[in-house]
Amino acid sequence: MSRLLVEVAGVSVRLGDHQALEQVDLALHEREIVSLIGPNGAGKSTLVKLVLGILEPDTGRVTRAPGLRFAYMPQRLAIDPTLPIDVDRLLDLPHRHSASEKREALERVGVTGLGRRPLQALSGGELQRVLLARALLRRPDLLVLDEPAAGIDYQGQAAFFGLIDSVRREQGCGILVVSHDLHLVMAATDRVVCLNRHICCSGTPEAVGDDPVYLELFGPRTGAALARYHHHHDHEHALSGEIAHPADCEHH
C-alpha cells in the first residue's frame, strides 16, 4: 500500500449559517490521482482548504503525513498589467531555482523556450503548463489542481491530463484534481469522489459515471441539468432501485 498523505475523517464545517461540509471522509495516497467533483457550492474548495491546512474543521480530524509539501495550481492568474513579470520569474516563486532547472521544467511540460515571455502574453494553455512547471519545481508530495481544464479546448485537455498522468509516474506524488465535471477528469483519474456537502459516491470513474446518485446530481449529460439541480437523492435511491449499484462505489 502506498504512503497515506492526508486523511480527512468525519469532518464537518460550518461557514456562517451555511453547513459547508457534513461528515466527510477522504484519504489521499502517493502515486494516486483523485478527482474531486461536485456542482457549484458543493464544498469542493472548502474541502481542499481543509486538506491544505488553511481551514480547521469544526468536528472531525485532518491528519497529514509529517513534512508534507504541497503545490497548488490555480485555475488562472489574473495578473495586473502593471506587474512586469516573465515566466522565469514566476518559476522562481516562492523559491529560486537554477536556470537549467527552470529550462528542464518548461521542457518537461512542453513549453520549451518560453522563459522570457511576459505572463500576460501567454495563451490559456501555455499558462496552464507554466503553472504546472512551477508546481513541479517544488517537488511536491501532493499536487492540487483547481479546475485544470477551464478555458482549454478538448484536445488540449486530453494532452494535459496525459501529462498529469506521466508526472505522477515520474515524481510519485499524489494528485488531487478539483473539477465540476467528471467527463473532463475521467481520462486520468484513479478514483473519483463526488461531493455535495457530503460524499455522495466514490470509486473508479466508470463506476461513478454509472452511479444513479451521480446521474441524479449531474444528469446523463453534464451541463444543462446543473442549473435546475435539486438535491433530493435520498428519496431517489428507492425509485431507481432497479439500477444496480457498482460494487466499488460506496454510499454514505
Binding site: 497548488y72 506587474l83 512586469p84
Partner: protein, 268 residues
Amino acid sequence: MLPDFLLRGWLAGMALAAVAGPLGCFVVWRRMAYFGDTLAHGALLGVTLGLVTGIDLMPAVAVTSALIALLVVVMQRQRTLATDTLLGILAHSGIAIGLVLLGLVGAVRVDLLGYLFGDVLAVRWQDVAVAVIGGALVLAVLRHYWPELLFATLHDEMARAEGTPTTRLRLVLMLLVALVIAAAMKIVGILLITSMLIIPPAAARQLSATPEAMAVIAAGLGGLAVTLGLTLSWHADTPAGASIVVMALAIFVVAQVIGPLVARRLGC
C-alpha cells in the same frame, strides 16, 4: 550653496522617494491606491490628535494611520460592505472627525494648509533623521518579505496553499504604507501623499522587465521628481509639495512616450 532648509527638505524627500517607489509598486500591483488615500485622509485625524494631546505629530499620524489600516482589515472580514464603500466612509470621516475635534478644542486657527499640502520649510533635522532611519527600516522589512509578497500578489490562494501567511503579509504592507504616509506628510502633504506611491511606479512600469527593476526604477524616478520639484519651487517660488507631484507627472508622461522604445530595444 544650498540653504539649510532646502537641504533638509531634499534629504527627507529623497528618503521618502527611496521607500515610496518599491512600496508603491505593491500599491499599484495590488490596486491599493484608494486604500492609500484613505490612510492619508485619516492622517488629518492623527494631526488633530497630535495637536490636542501634544504628542509629536509624526508618531501620532503613524499610529492613527496604522489603526485605520487595522480597522480596514477587520471590517473587510465582515464582508458587509464593498471595500471601496468602506474606504470611502473611513477616509472622509477621518477628515471630518479631525476638523470637528480641532474646532472643539478651539484650535481652528491652526494652519491646516501646511498639513494638507506639505511644508518643506518645516522639515527639521530630526525629521530628516526619522525619514532616513525609518525609511531604511521599511526597506529592510520590504526586502525581507519581498518574494512572499510578490507570490501573494500574483495569486493569494496559491501562496496560501503553499504555506505563505498571506493575511499577515497584507497587514505588514498596510502598516508600511501607514508609516510612509506619516513620514511624507510634511514634504508633500496629506492630499498629495498617495501620488508619491502611485506615479513613480506607474512611470517605472514602462521601463521595467522585472518586478525588482520596477521597484528600483520607481525609487530613482521618485528621487528625480523630488529634486526637480524642489528646484522648480526654489526658482519659481511654487509650493514645494505640489511642484514635486507635477514633476512626477511630467516624468510619467515622458516614460509613456519613451517606454515603448525601451521595450523594443529590450526585445519584448
